[in-house]
Amino acid sequence: MNVFQFFSQNGAQVLELTFEHLWLVGISTLLAALVGIPLGIAIAHRPGLNRPVLAGANIIQTIPSLALFGFLLPVPWIGDRADRLAILALTLYALLPMIRNTYTGIRGVDAAVVEAGRGMGLTNWQLLFEVELPLAMSVILSGVRVAVVISVGLATIAAAIGAGGLGEFIFRGLAMVNNQLILAGAIPAAMLALLADVSLGWLERRLQRR
């Protein structure tokens, strides 16, 4: 039986696991954006904060993913359910690109533009929403893109702790020494990553052109 036969026979299950995968990635990306982008904005405006925050996010990035799952297991409420655990781990990994790109994007806004805006009486919030964020948006979005692509790959490991997703096929295939089964998980996962990369890249270029 080749991979395509497998897909046609197990279409429903492939679809289910794909959606589960998307859900893990989607929620964790959203959470990471909600935390990472404001954090990136904050450290862009407070020069003293950027080193410790970026260092912290960097350290998280260096923890091997399986080990991170292990560390989070004893955490109350989080450790109770595998999907919570997976989402938190994926969120933590997605933080670095979000924070770093938001920081870089905002610091990259032409100083003359910011000074002119401030001199004309824009409040800090107006400066942020009218000037800094719009001009940093394509850089921030490329951080989101990197985070999503990383998450799609990492989320396959979530199956190791029983959180579901396309990793299920991969782990099952590994256990059964069945390459078809591994491909059945790996191909949709790779396609998701490509799709996210292409569509977010397109959005990024559109924003840049303005």
Partner: protein, 299 residues
Amino acid sequence: MGVAGASIGSLGASLHEGNLKCRAYLALPGSVNSSMLASMEPNALDTRVIEFCNVSYALPGGQRVLSDLSLEVQRGETLVLLGRSGSGKTTTLKLVNRLLSPTSGEVRVNGTPTKNADVIHLRRGIGYVIQDVGLFPHFTVERNIALVPRLEGWPEERTRARVQELLQMVGLEAQMGSRYPHQLSGGQKQRVGVARALAADPAILLMDEPFGALDPLTRDELQREFLGLQRRLSKTVVFVTHDLREALLLGSRVALMEEGQLVVALAPQEFTRSTHPLASAYVRAFGSGLESVADRGTS
């Protein structure tokens, strides 16, 4: 010699006067006159729009940028701050719209110390033009010019009419309004910069080397148009430059700064004749023909 004595004397007098006026503000008369004063427009009697009272400014690290500056800018005059880079001209300018706050001393705009003013309100009442223009690259020319009116909540119709008026005023065609800054030449950008600063019709205009980055021909053009505009609008202008020729052409008074201190503040014609060592060094460095520039600027 006589000229030198007179100019140094007048400088001393104006500094002294500045100190007196600083005190006068703190002790407002409480007699019958005060009710009369209150019923009048606050600026009706006072022509001092911007006052620096013994202002010093030091960087957070402690390095002194400005020392004990006392200076007044009268309504409708163009005061040019002249000096080399690092002399404190830009710092002086930024103290007016409180992009910087004095370490000691007081800056007053329309009689109110800037430290007591609502900073956003203060800035919206002061036009600000900088060398790098700083147009918002993601806004059209129209939206750039309309920025302050929009923030101030002007009705759409009034804003649009004002933008058209301003485009014409700074010598740009109406269709330029829909362009983006990157589609403009350097001279056009700075015209938009000036239009944007004038948008909400502020009484004060701060200009920090606005024509410094332009090619000589465009600069010449914009300087002349600025003179024409200023004759019509009579804004109170503080203009920073290191170019003596520009200072003499545009200024009604030239304040020479060096190492954070005010050296002299003189009318252009006086400046070219001044025997103050630094002022005459400037005049010498720029060569001949400056007297005619000084005369043209104020005629």
